[in-house]
């Protein structure tokens, strides 16, 4: 699923890494616990989280994830954004909750699967 579609699906605002919107993503991970993310991520993809501190970007970077979706309309502080910029990681923020965000993406991914 293209990140551009995800952006539309979630009415999300892209805060950095706009040029990556044409990328295809199949794997999504949702968690606020850094160690759980470090333990579970196997494939490159997108992290969905409500945590906005710079450590989220560090965690993302260690795992070669390509971007982060912040839920509940959260906007990360400048330290987080600048770390994301210099590591070329996409950041978007959506007003939807974690539950709604995951639900929407899950349904859309299943639909993609069926359409194939």
């Amino acid at each position: 699923m293209k990140l551009e579609e995800i952006k539309k699906l979630l009415s999300a605002k892209v805060l950095c890494g706009e040029c990556m919107l044409d990328k295809d993503v199949e794997h999504f991970y949702a968690s606020d616990l850094m160690s759980d993310i470090l333990a579970t991520v196997k494939e490159p993809g997108i992290l969905i989280t409500a945590m906005v501190q710079p450590q989220v970007v560090r965690t993302t970077q260690m795992l070669d994830l390509i971007g982060i979706i912040f839920v509940n309309g959260k906007v990360p502080p400048e330290e987080t954004l600048s770390l994301a910029r210099s590591n070329e990681i996409l950041i978007m923020t959506t007003k939807h909750s974690m539950f709604e965000t995951c639900g929407k993406i899950y349904l859309a991914l299943n639909k993609c699967e069926r359409d194939r």
Binding site: G17, E18, D32, L33, S35, M62, E79, S86
Partner: protein
Amino acid sequence: MREIDRDFYSLLKLPVTLIMNANMPKVLPDRKVFQVREILKINQLDGVAITNEDGRLVGIVTMYDLLKAIEENKRDASVEDIMTRDVVTLSPSHTLADAIEYFRVYGYGRFPVVDRDKVFLGMVTPLDIVIRLPSLKEEREEIKEEGEKAKVIRLEFSVEGGDFINGGEASSKIKRYLQNLGLSKDIIKRVAVASYEMEMNIVIHAYRGKLIVEISSDKIMIKAIDEGPGIEDIEKAIQPGYSTASPKVRELGFGAGMGLPNIISCSDEFDIKSTVGVGTEVTSIIYIK
């Protein structure tokens, strides 16, 4: 190779973002020529990036361009009318060696560093390289390479307890270093996760510590040695879900009791020693072959 040569060549592999000047004044395209000249004078700069409201690079202007414009009675013109629009840029993935090559090939006096969205991150001039090289050397002190004969590369970083802003910086450097060595993605990820968990353990639990990585031909050893309260019950500490982290640390998404189990699952060999009131030493070995 002589000591100094090896040191110099390893410096060249560092990313250009470490030498760029990231504290450049922000200059919008509608600023007047005379204003920009003042900005450059005050900041003792010879050139500056022109960026729009969202920080994207639209051009650069040099002191020479500005003085020439003033001579031509264009002191009240907008700087966008005289700036260079077609700018050669560097990206954060470029190394110091790339930057030097750019200066040699293009012969320009400065290169802006921009991300993939053209957002301006900083400026590199030959002077930045000369001035910042000594401080990079200090940084390089952390990255001590030893024993080429024994073919062991040793990287060492100090980590401050409680420093959540810079926590993870050492692991980033380690990861980048391994990528430059061309190791497989799987190995790099295991080392990155283990070293990051170890580094964050020092940040979360200890007063201060060291993160050491030794890369040899068949394995990578990561060692975290800290001065801290130590661990009372190691058996418990390595159980998934067990944690002694404070609520404040948990609010940051850490302290879920998965740190040590994560390190263990990334490691081929694992060891932990701890003395209450003194500190903890964690060792992880990952085989390359």
